[in-house]
C-alpha cells in the first residue's frame, strides 16, 4: 500500500540530443547524431587543443610511453586516439542531458577532471608499470595535465553541443544581453574594488578589466535564461574558476613568455587571484540574473512572464525554514569550530574573544546565511541529493566570501587569498561544506514536508514540475560535483 506511481519522466529525455530536438528545426540524419559518434568528433577537437598544449610543453613523450616509445609524434597519435575514445564516452554520458553550451560545459569540466584522476594519475602509471600518482607531490607534478584535461573537457563539451544542436536552434546573442553582462561584471568589480582595495588596501585594480571581460563572456556562454539567483550563483562560482584557469593561470604566461605555464609554481603565483576570480564569477552570475529580473519586473508588461507566486506567503515561511536549517547546519559546523578552536575568531567580529560570544555570533551568522539560502534556493531541490548538492555548493561560496574574505577584513585584516591563508583556512572549508550539506538536507526536508512543488495534482502540473526538474538537472549535478572537487583538491594541490 505504500508504493506510489512513478512520476512521468522528463517529457523529452528519451532519445539522444533530445534537449535540442524540441525546436521546429529539421531533424538531420547525420551520422554525428549518434551520441558516441558526436562524442568522438568532439573528443578529437578537445584532443587537438590539449595536444597542442602538450606539444608546446613537451609532454607528449609521456603519453607515448604507453606504447613503449618516446616519440612525440607517436605520443600525439596515441593521445588523439585516447581523446577520441574518451570523447565517445562523454557523448554517451551526456546523451540524456540538455544540449546547451553552458550546461554541457560543466559536464565537460568535471569529466575532464575525473579523467585526470583516472588517466594520468592512475591508469597511465599502471600501464607503464609505475606506482600510481595518488599522493600530493604526484598530483602537484601533474598539475599541468589537470589544466590540460579541463581544457580538453571544456572544448569537447562546447564542440559536442555545436554538433548536437539543430541548425535552426542556434540563437544569436543579443547586444542588450551582452551589455547587461558587462554592466554586471563592472558592477561586481566595483563592489570588490570598493570593499577590498579602497577599504582594506588589497590591490585589486585588475578586477575591472577582468570583470568586464568575464561579464561579457557569461551571457555568451550561458545565454539570458530565466532562473533563480541561487543556481546562477553556483554556476557563476564554477564560471569564476574557469575564468581563473584561463585569465589567471593561462593567459599571463602565454602573453608574457609566449608559452604555456601550468606548473605548480605558476599556479602558486596565481593562487591569490583565485578567490577574487571565484567571487567575481559568482557575483557576475547573480548580478546578471538580478539585472535581468529587475528589468523584467520594470519593463515587461506581460504578467505571464513573471512568477505566478507572490513572494509574500510562502516566501516568509521559507525564510523561517531557512533560519531553522541554518541553525542545524551551524550546529554541525560548531563541532568543527570547537575542535579547531575557531570560536574566538568568530567572536572577534563583535570585538569579543570568548568562545561563548563566538558561538552566539556563529549561530546567528549561520541562520542569516540559512535565510539567504532559503531565498536563493527555494524550490530548487527535489530530492536529498539536490538539497545536499546546492547546500555544499553554497557552503563553498561562503567559505570564499566569508572565511577567506569577509572575516579577515571585518576583523581588521586583509583577505586571506594567498596559498598560506587558503591552507590555514582548510578546517573552515571542511566546516563550511559540512554546514552546507546539513543546511541543504534539512531545508529540503522542511520544504518537502510543507511545500512540495513537485507534488502535483494533474498531468499539466506534473509536466511543469518535470520540466523544472529537468532544468535543474541540466547542469546542476555537474556543478555540485565540480564545486566540491575544486574546493577539496585545488587548495591542496596548490598549497599543500
Amino acid at each position: 500500500m505504500t508504493s506510489t506511481p512513478p512520476l512521468p519522466g522528463p517529457p523529452a529525455s528519451s532519445g539522444p540530443a533530445s534537449g535540442s530536438s524540441t525546436g521546429d528545426g529539421p531533424v538531420t540524419t547525420s551520422p554525428l547524431r549518434h551520441p558516441a559518434a558526436a562524442g568522438v568528433a568532439a573528443g578529437v577537437a578537445g584532443g587537438l587543443v590539449f595536444g597542442a598544449a602538450m606539444a608546446s610543453s613537451g609532454t607528449l613523450p609521456t603519453v607515448a610511453s604507453i606504447v613503449r616509445t618516446d616519440s612525440a609524434a607517436v605520443g600525439f597519435v596515441v593521445h588523439m586516439a585516447i581523446a577520441a575514445a574518451i570523447g565517445a564516452g562523454f557523448g554517451l554520458l551526456v546523451a540524456h542531458q540538455r544540449a546547451q553550451a553552458g550546461e554541457t560545459l560543466f559536464w565537460g569540466l568535471i569529466y575532464g577532471a575525473f579523467w585526470w584522476f583516472l588517466g594520468p594519475l592512475t591508469l597511465l602509471p599502471l600501464l607503464v608499470g609505475r606506482p600510481v600518482a595518488w599522493d600530493l607531490p604526484g598530483a602537484q607534478a601533474l598539475l599541468p595535465s589537470l589544466v590540460g584535461h579541463l581544457f580538453y573537457g571544456a572544448t569537447t563539451a562546447v564542440v559536442l553541443t555545436g554538433l548536437r544542436r539543430d541548425a535552426g536552434a542556434a540563437t544569436r546573442p543579443r547586444i542588450a544581453i551582452a551589455v547587461r553582462g558587462v554592466v554586471a561584471g563592472v558592477a561586481v568589480a566595483s563592489v570588490l574594488y570598493l570593499g577590498l582595495d579602497v577599504m582594506a588596501g588589497t590591490r585589486i585594480g585588475w578586477v575591472f578589466g577582468v570583470g568586464a571581460l568575464a561579464g561579457l563572456g557569461y551571457p555568451v556562454l550561458f545565454g539570458a535564461r530565466r532562473e533563480g539567483a541561487g543556481p546562477a550563483l553556483v554556476r557563476g562560482t564554477a564560471y569564476g574558476f574557469l575564468c581563473w584557469v584561463v585569465g589567471g593561470l593561462t593567459l599571463p604566461s602565454l602573453l608574457r613568455d609566449g608559452r604555456l605555464d601550468w606548473s605548480r609554481e605558476a599556479a602558486l603565483a596565481a593562487a591569490d587571484r583565485l578567490p577574487p576570480y571565484l567571487l567575481l564569477g559568482a557575483g557576475i552570475a547573480v548580478a546578471f540574473t538580478a539585472l535581468g529580473g529587475f528589468g523584467r519586473w520594470l519593463f515587461v508588461d506581460d504578467v505571464r512572464m513573471h512568477h505566478v507566486e507572490s513572494p509574500g506567503g510562502r516566501g516568509l515561511r521559507a525564510t523561517g525554514y531557512g533560519a531553522l536549517a541554518g541553525l542545524a547546519g551551524g550546529l554541525v559546523f560548531t563541532l568543527v569550530l570547537v575542535l579547531v578552536d575557531g570560536l574566538p575568531d568568530m567572536a572577534a567580529l563583535t570585538g569579543a574573544r570568548s568562545p561563548a560570544a563566538g558561538l552566539i555570533v556563529h549561530l546567528i551568522v549561520a541562520q542569516l546565511i540559512g535565510v539567504t539560502y532559503a531565498l536563493l534556493f527555494r524550490r530548487r531541490s527535489f530530492d536529498l541529493a539536490s538539497g545536499i548538492g546546492w547546500g555544499v555548493s553554497y557552503g563553498f561560496v561562503w567559505w570564499v566570501l566569508g572565511a577567506l574574505t569577509l572575516l579577515p577584513v571585518l576583523t581588521g585584516g586583509t583577505p586571506q587569498w594567498n596559498a598560506a591563508g587558503v591552507a590555514a583556512a582548510f578546517p573552515a572549508l571542511v566546516g563550511h561544506l559540512a554546514y552546507g550539506a546539513a543546511l541543504g538536507a534539512v531545508y529540503f526536508r522542511l520544504e518537502d514536508r510543507a511545500n512540495p512543488w513537485w507534488f502535483t495534482r494533474n498531468e499539466i502540473e506534473a509536466q511543469r514540475a518535470a520540466m523544472a526538474r529537468e532544468v535543474i538537472l541540466g547542469s546542476a549535478p555537474a556543478l555540485w560535483g565540480l564545486t566540491v572537487l575544486i574546493a577539496l583538491t585545488i587548495p591542496l594541490v596548490i598549497s599543500g
Binding site: T4, F114, L384, F426, A437
Partner: protein, 599 residues
Amino acid sequence: MSGQDQRGSPHRRASPGSSEQARWGALAGLVIGLPVGVLMAAQGMLDVSGNGGVTRWVLFAVSSVAVGAAIGVVTGYRPRGLAVAASGGVLVGLLGWLVFALTVAPVLAGQAPTWSAAAAATAYRDLVGNLLHGGLTGVLVHGLSALRARRSPSGTGPAEPDPPVRVVIVGGGFAGVSAAQRFERLALRGVPVDVTVISDSNFLLFTPMLAEVASSALEASHISAPVRAAVAHTRFRHGAVERIDTDRRIVALAAGPDPDETVPYDHLVLAVGSVPHFLDLPGVAEHARTMKDLTDAMSLREHVIELLERADHSSADPVEREGLLTFVVAGGGFAGAETIAELFDLVHRVLHYFPGISPDEPRFVLVHSRDRILPELSPELGAYALDRLRARGIEFRLGVRVAAATATDVELTDGDRIPTRTFVWTAGNRPSPLIATLDGDHARSGALVTDPSLRVCGLDGVWAVGDCAQIPDLDNDGSPFPPTAQHALRQGKVVADNIAAVLAGREPAEFRFATIGVLVALGHRTAAAEIRGRRFSGLAAWLLWRGIYLAKLPGIEKRARVLLDWLLDLVFPRDIVLAGRRATGETAPAQQARDGQPR
C-alpha cells in the same frame, strides 16, 4: 466529464524505496571498492602489515559500503541519466572522504580530527581513491538500476502500484479543509490517497471575525482564504452536492454543465456544516437576517447603513423612525452577543456622519430564551458580559423567545412587539439539508451520529466531522462535542489519520479533545475569555481575542491584511460606502420583496 475521468491519474512523488536502493548501492560500492582497495593495497597505500592494518581495511570496507549506499539512495532510485549518477557519485565520494578519511580515521586512531591542510595532504591519496570509487560506483549504480528497469515486467521499473484510494471530502469549512491538509501530509508520507474536496463556496470562511465584517471594521475578503490556496495539492471542485448514493458510493453534483456529473469515492468525509434553523416560526424565515456567511455580514452592514441614511432625514412617523433605528438580535450565544456588540459599535462609530440622528435614538435589543447569555462561558463571565453590554445601553430580553416576525416588527413570546427593520437570527442551527437525505443514525438535531472514531453509524465508508456530526465525547460521558472551530479543526485532522489507519489495516483512533478555551468579543476593547480554566475579561481578554484569532487566520497574507485593517481602524472612521445599493425611493420592505432579501 464523468467521475471516472475526473479521477485522473495521481501524480505523486515516487517513493524512493530507499532501503532497496541503499542495498544495491552498497553492493555497487563494494564491487567497485574491491579493485580500488586492491590497487591501493598493491600500491602500499593501505598499510596492511602494521597493527593498524586491520582497522584500515575495515574502515575502507565500511566507507566503500556506506558511500555506495549513499550513492544508491541519492542517485539510484530514479535513473536520471548516466551523467547525473556519475557526478552524484563523485560528490558523495568526496563528502565521504571528509567523513571517513578526515574525521572517522583520526578518531579511530585516538586523535582529535584537525581537518587541517596538513592532515588533508596526508589523506590526499584517499581523496583520489574516494573520488574514483564514487564516480565509478555512480556509473555502476546507474547501470544496475537501468538493468533492473529493463528486467522488470512492465519495463519501466517497479511494478505498477494499485490505484490510490479515492477520498471525497464534502465541505470546505474548518473541518473539511483541515482534513484535506492532513491528507496532503499523509500523501507525502506515502499514503496512497487521491483526495477531492467538493464545496459550494471556494473559500474557507473565518467565522469568528464575521461580526467585524458586519461592523465595517474588516474587509470581507480578508477573513476568508481560498480553499485552493489552503490545499494547493488537492483536487478541488466548486459545486453543490445534490445527492449522495452511499450504496454505489458516488456523490452527485447539482446540475452544472454536465447534469449527470458524479464523483465516485471509496471513503467519504462529510463536513458540510450547519444552516440556520428558524424553528418554523411564522415570518422568521422570511424576515430574519442570518450571520452564517460573508454575504450575510456584508448585507447586514449595508442594510444598517442604508437605514441610517433613511433615518437621517425621515422625521414623519415616530413608529417608522423607531423601527429604522431599532436593531434586534435573537440568540444569546457567541454569534448573537458578538453581533449585537458589533452592531452597536458600527452605528455609534458612524453616527457622526448622520446629524439627523440623535445618539440616544438607536436601540439595540438582544432576545435570549434563557436566563443568562453566553451559556458556554462560566456564569461569572456571562454575567460580566451582560453587565458590560447593558452598561452601553443594549437591552436584554431574557427568558423569552421570538414568536413571529414581520417586515416591520418582531413579536416575542411574552406578547411584546418590537418595531424593527433589522432582525438578526442566531438562535438556532441545524445540519445542512444534505445530511437529512442520508441513511444512517441521526440525532434529534438532525446531525449524523458517529462512533468515537468519527465513522457514521450505519453507513459504510462514510465519516462525518464538524457541525453536521454528533460525536460522542468519551471523556464527558459520551455527550456530544460542541460545534466550534477548534473542535472541527481537530476532527478534520483525526478523520484523515483514521482513514489512513483503516487503509493500512489498523484500527482508527478515538477522537478525544478537551476544549482549550472560549473567547467572545464584546465590541470596543472588551472581551471575555476562558482558557484552560483561567478567566480573562476586559482589555486583556480583548487583546487575547485579537492575538489568538489573528494567529489562527488561515494564511499569512490574510493575517497581514486583517492586521492592517485593524491598524487603519485606529486612525480612520468606519466606512459607510453603500457599494451594492442605490437609493430608489422605495420603502425597505418593497425593496426587500423585490430583491428577495433578506430571507
